[in-house]
């Protein structure tokens, strides 16, 4: 059930009407959440429910077993990780593995080809497996006591606002919240409504209006030979993926607030970062912190010397790239970012540049351009296409602006203008400026602006529909 569908709006309205009554007790709160989440998730395909049930049961019992038989807790952790990674490997990476095996076999002269399994990828598998693994790993580390109530555990694992595309919420954050009846305050509801409205605006008005242009550019048989065209397209894609993904996260957080739960911030204006390190502290925060805590730090982090630090960073980034998709282009995207981070660590260029007049702005611009170059690999169908597009982008002698007017279609004006205004507002920290902060009109204008945003989500909705990160 997509957030941007009539079915979801009906579902949530029905859910929230009954929620204040059923959330008062632990048992009814958990069971109601599980039933609602199962309905939400099963809407796509009821068969997916068996996988999340099986995956969750392995982790629930593994965590209990770790507490009861602590001498074997390492083995129970291995069982949990194998269960989760195994299901990911099977549904997400099996065909990727087979394709590469066939390629190697063909290279070595073998005629026979292994047929692809073509298994359906369950929606959100990458998210809930990571969420589930964080539970067992935290129990293993002693940071968390396992819950003895399976309903409590599954209410955490399957909670519908963040089930299919994050944010990945740690058990240490959410399990305690689930133990309490958290009545919502007016402030929660207001902040929740803002997040939901902004989230929908980013997704349906900005991202969905940009999607057809980006898709047409990347689907074309022959890429347009214009540097100007490709810089604009990649900028549009950068905007699309940010608004699509952060929009989903905002809606999830907003829904959580209406339910009385706090989910972590997942995107903190990443394109305003002044370095790649800062970028990764602002982009998909729940995933990057997951990889930091469960891959990078256990490998040793940067504690064991410079070379080991770089090695650990590269391993973490490459695994993160593969998490995004079963394709070498995602690994290429991650490798490029790992290279950026290595160079940044060695040269400390942001710290040097920031001392110059306008240095912060220069750092933000350079970081944004580097991120744009990375997005080429993320979006391209193949390495070949990515290299051709990068070649066009850096063929600066061939700007060929004639191709550009077709890109700036009228239905993009409002989304782009609104988004840019928002970014300038944040970048210049206008909300803290006295003329805005102390203005008596702010309290009245904010709800008015929110009303305009809500109406814009209906009238300026774009034609695209699926959230990009559903494919992960």
């Amino acid at each position: 059930m997509r957030f941007n569908s009539v079915a979801f709006i009906g579902f949530f309205l029905a859910f929230i009407v009954v929620w204040p009554i059923l959330r008062r007790r632990n048992s009814s709160r958990w069971i109601y959440l599980i039933v609602a989440s199962s309905f939400f998730y099963g809407w796509w395909d009821y068969r997916f429910l068996f996988l999340i049930l099986a995956s969750g049961l392995i982790d629930f019992f593994a965590a209990l077993a770790m507490e009861r038989r602590s001498e074997y807790k390492k083995w129970f952790l291995v069982v949990s990780i194998c269960g989760n990674v195994g299901s990911l490997a099977l549904f997400k990476y099996l065909d990727f593995f087979i394709m590469n095996l066939n390629y190697v076999g063909d290279f070595l002269g073998f005629d026979a080809e292994i047929p692809l399994a073509r298994l359906i990828l369950p929606v959100g598998i990458s998210f809930y497996t990571f969420q589930s693994m964080s539970y067992t790993i935290d129990v293993y580390r002693g940071k968390l006591n396992p819950t003895r109530n399976p309903f409590h555990f599954f209410a955490y694992l399957a909670m519908f606002p963040q089930l299919v595309a994050g944010p990945i919420v740690r058990a240490t954050d959410l399990l305690p919240q689930l133990m309490r009846n958290n009545p919502t305050t007016e402030e929660n509801r207001w902040q929740g409504l803002r997040l939901i409205a902004y989230g929908y605006f980013k997704k349906v008005v900005v991202a969905d209006n940009l999607a057809p242009l980006v898709n047409a550019a990347f689907d074309a048989q022959t890429p347009v030979d214009s540097a100007g065209y490709w810089w604009v397209i990649i900028f549009f894609f950068a905007l699309q993926i940010y608004c699509d993904f952060s929009g989903y996260s905002d809606i999830a957080r907003g829904l959580g607030k209406w339910m009385g739960f706090e989910f972590p911030v997942n995107f903190d204006h990443p394109y305003l970062s002044g370095s790649l390190r800062e970028f990764w502290g602002r982009w998909h925060v729940s995933l990057s912190s997951w990889f930091r805590d469960y891959v990078y730090i256990p490998l040793g982090g940067s504690r064991k010397g410079t070379c080991t630090g770089h090695r650990n960073m590269w391993i973490t980034m490459l695994i993160s790239g593969l998490w995004h998709g079963a394709a070498w282009t995602f690994v290429g995207w991650a490798a490029l970012h790992a290279l950026y981070l290595s160079i940044e660590r060695l040269t400390q260029w942001p710290k040097r540049l920031i001392r110059l007049p306008g240095g912060r702005h220069l750092c933000v611009a350079i970081t944004f351009i580097l991120v744009l170059c990375g997005w080429v690999f993320f979006r391209a169908r193949s390495f070949t296409q990515a290299t051709v597009i990068l070649g066009e982008m850096f063929n600066l002698g061939h700007m060929n602006f004639k191709a550009l007017p077709d890109l700036f279609q009228v239905q993009l004006l409002i989304p782009l203008a609104t988004w840019l205004t928002g970014q300038v507002y944040v970048y210049l920290n206008l909300s803290e400026q006295p003329f805005i902060k102390n203005s008596p009109w702010v309290g009245f204008l904010r709800p008015l602006a929110l009303g305009a945003i809500i109406a814009a989500c209906i009238f300026f909705k774009g034609p695209g529909s699926t959230f990009i990160y559903f494919q992960f």
């Binding site: 009539v6 079915a7 809407w43 007016e186 509801r189 207001w190 409504l193 409205a197 074309a220 048989q221 022959t222 279609q409 009228v410 239905q411 004006l413 409002i414 008596p440 009109w441 702010v442 309290g443 009245f444 904010r446 709800p447 008015l448 929110l450 009303g451 305009a452 809500i454 109406a455 814009a456 209906i458 009238f459 300026f460 909705k461 774009g462």
Partner: protein, 332 residues
């Protein structure tokens, strides 16, 4: 006195401000209230007017047709806006006629099979009329088209589309044209009346008969192989025509009347050899209906206004009535 006036006006101003501040505390209610206000404002920007059946219900209705027709009309928007089954029935009174055209429709396998399924197998005379233009013979139109979009919907989505069509039409987004008209402060109204037989009667005020011709002139020659004539699509259509003929289904084809200049431009850009196609079409057993595009008036260069749609419907019905059945004799 002057000071008193200032004091009074200050008191009045602070009274308004305090009222606004108080209103601001009811911010959620205010947000929803202003959303309703903006909804009404944005609604006034609509210049696409819809009458008759709700669009969602209209397309779902088409998909539900099964073994109910003696004659099926097929093609893209030029057919669903250009042919009125009711008008055709005035000249072919014994026939049940349905307009099964979809937006941007190409002659894909699935669509051709669906056409056959709409025909009543027991009908004494079974006819398929194909509105064929070059765009319907491209890979792009075969891969992305209206039939595929609606037929590919999940059952639940179809239910929502069909039964919530009326309330949902008030929540449809503004079209790019409506936004353009607002930005350019242009008044251009577009009317559509959705009929139960599959015809969308449509017209514009003011009309712009040169619009699509100007657009076609500006576009550079197509380089994307998906947007030029596909030999595979053409061969598949010809084979299907031959198969239908073997099943004693009469097949008629015609070029939707778009005007000589636009026709030439489209043929050139898509590399369409129309004469060669017509020859193959007739060899396969189909019958080509020749019409004079100058006899019809298009409100945007491509689509017929209601009067011309009724005229074309009458003209095609007469041609079909007068035409002998093709070589394979049909038992009636």
């Amino acid at each position: 006195m002057f000071d008193t006036d200032i004091t009074k006006s200050s008191a009045a101003g602070s009274g308004i401000l305090s009222k606004l501040k108080h209103l601001g505390r009811e911010r959620i209610a205010l947000a929803f209230g202003s959303a309703v206000m903006f909804f009404l404002i944005f609604s006034s920007l609509r210049t696409n007017y819809i009458q008759g059946i709700s669009p969602g219900r209209f397309w779902m209705m088409k998909l539900s047709w099964c073994e109910c027709a003696d004659m099926v009309l097929a093609g893209n928007s030029r057919v669903y806006r250009g042919l009125s089954p009711a008008q055709m029935q005035n000249h072919l009174p014994s026939m049940r006629i349905y307009n099964y055209a979809f937006s941007g429709q190409g002659f894909s396998d699935s669509y051709l099979q669906a056409l056959e399924k709409v025909l009543d197998k027991n009908a004494p005379r079974k006819i398929i009329v194909l509105g064929i233009g070059p765009h319907a013979l491209t890979k792009n139109s075969v891969e992305k088209n209206g039939y595929q979009k609606y037929a590919g919907m999940a059952f639940r989505e179809r239910l929502v589309c069909r039964y919530l069509a009326y309330p949902l039409r008030w929540f449809r987004p503004l079209s790019p044209r409506e936004i353009q008209n607002f930005i350019h402060w242009k008044v251009e109204k577009f009317y559509q009346h959705f009929h139960a037989d599959g015809w969308i009667e449509s017209w514009m005020e003011p009309e712009d008969p040169q619009r699509d011709i100007s657009l076609a002139r500006k576009k550079p020659p197509l380089t994307d192989p998906n947007r030029i004539i596909s030999q595979t699509v053409m061969d598949n259509l010809i084979e299907t025509v031959a198969k239908w003929r073997a099943l004693e289904i009469e097949v008629y084809g015609f070029r939707t009347p778009v005007g000589a200049e636009l026709s030439k431009l489209q043929n050139y850009k898509t590399k369409y050899d129309e004469e060669g196609f017509i020859e193959r079409f007739e060899e396969a057993g189909g019958k080509w209906l020749s019409i004079n595009p100058d006899d019809y008036h298009r409100y945007d260069g491509s689509h017929l206004n209601p009067e011309s749609a009724l005229t074309l419907s009458r003209d095609l019905a007469r041609l079909i009535k007068e035409s002998d059945p093709p070589d394979n004799k049909i038992k009636r």
